[in-house]
């Protein structure tokens, strides 16, 4: 049991690290991107651009929340 927990813990730390919000945000962008691709409602160039913008938004939100957290911690 310890080995399995340790195994998954290692991969979680390696891939997700201390920024779980980025990993979760990317998964959301992928799901939405996949749904839009399946629906075939946008030109491929528009879809890639939209996915890129989504990724940037994820990083922006992560930084914003981190800044707020640190500002709160600093009093």
């Amino acid at each position: 049991m310890g080995f399995i927990t340790g195994f998954f813990r290692f991969w979680y730390d390696f891939v997700v690290g201390d920024a779980w919000d980025i990993a979760a945000g990317i998964v959301v962008v992928l799901i939405l991107g996949g749904l839009l691709a399946r629906a075939d409602v946008l030109a491929e160039q528009q879809l890639t651009l939209l996915i890129g913008a989504g990724i940037v938004a994820v990083v922006g939100c992560s930084l914003f929340f981190e800044a707020q957290r640190r500002a709160k911690a600093a009093g």
């Binding site: 390696f14 891939v15 997700v16 690290g17 201390d18 920024a19 980025i22 990993a23 990317i26 992928l30 991107g33 996949g34 749904l35 691709a37 399946r38 075939d40 491929e44 160039q45 879809l47 890639t48 651009l49 996915i51 890129g52 990724i55 940037v56 994820v58 990083v59 922006g60 992560s62 930084l63 981190e66 800044a67 640190r70 500002a71 911690a73 600093a74």
Partner: protein
């Protein structure tokens, strides 16, 4: 054989991998000096063997068993999550909201942990030194594997600067980095804190985030009715989209740093850093940071 593109590939991979090798070297050095060189070296060799196995399994799976769009999606997503973590840390470090990475401090912490740990011998080895060395080298080595895969695949798929067998050249760059760092480390016999790690990590984070964004978006095409990779605006012989994404990440990261530096917590931290003379090495005049 060694075309300009191949030399550029080897150099880029070597520089990117050097950061990871320096970190792994610090851990092994701390274990060797504090606990047992034998256990530290066996741990390192065991990690190399495990890395070779993982790389082989991943390589065979990706090369032979999946379509191009799935390959782009899987590698792109991992690169993205991974590269964005680096970029996020670099932005926070550059803005003062996170402490700069200090190899000397890491070395001291590793040595303190090694001294505090109890003695346990397994298979004739100091188990603590073996495990810590193995974990350190394996973790940093996995990051090198990602770097090699990214740059190798990118070079092999480039229309303008294609490098046949790019993966081998990229792997050669990583080996070159290991040789240089280990030689320098053996001569210096101390952590290589003079290496501008924070700046290099920022640059590698930018590159990984760029390729990750590019490939993930293309790989989403797997879910389209045709299952083929998507294409960016301007995709063609010259990789304009990659250049554009790189510039976008660079500009956005600098804007984020400037914005975050206005926060009171960041100002206080930056002032303290400056007072302590915490090794600030300006990248460009006016940007007093080593991200």
């Amino acid at each position: 054989m060694f075309t300009p593109a191949a030399i550029a590939l080897i150099t880029t991979t070597a520089i990117a991998s050097a950061v990871e090798v320096v970190e792994a070297f610090t851990i092994v050095l701390a274990m060797g000096l504090t606990r047992s060189w034998r256990a530290a070296i066996v741990g390192t060799l065991a990690a190399f063997a495990a890395l070779a196995l993982v790389t082989f399994v991943i390589g065979v799976t990706l090369k032979d068993l999946v379509s191009e769009s799935v390959l782009q999606l899987v590698i792109g997503t991992l690169l993205l999550i991974f590269g964005l973590q680096w970029l996020r840390k670099a932005i926070l470090r550059s803005s003062g909201l996170k402490a700069l990475h200090d190899e000397d401090e890491t070395f001291r912490e590793e040595q303190a942990a090694a001294r505090a740990a109890g003695r346990e011998t397994r298979m004739g080895l100091d188990w603590f030194a073996f495990v810590v060395s193995f974990k350190g080298v394996f973790l940093e080595g996995l990051e090198v594997v990602f770097i090699v895969i990214t740059f190798g695949l990118a070079a092999m798929n480039s229309d303008t600067a294609r490098v046949e067998n790019g993966m081998w050249y990229a792997a050669g760059g990583a080996v070159l980095a290991a040789v240089i760092v280990l030689t320098a480390g053996a001569v210096a016999h101390k952590p290589l804190s003079a290496v501008p790690e924070n700046t290099m990590k920022y640059a590698v984070g930018l590159l990984l985030a760029t390729f990750g964004t590019y490939w993930t978006a293309e790989g989403i095409g797997y879910f389209s009715p045709t299952g083929d990779s998507l294409h960016w605006y301007g995709a063609g012989d010259i990789p304009w989209p990659i250049l554009g994404i790189f510039i976008a990440w660079l500009v956005l990261s600098r804007i984020a740093v400037s914005g975050l530096r206005q926060l009171p917590a960041a100002r206080t931290a930056l002032a303290a850093r400056e007072t302590a003379g915490a090794g600030l090495k300006p990248i460009v005049a006016g940007t007093a940071t080593a991200t």
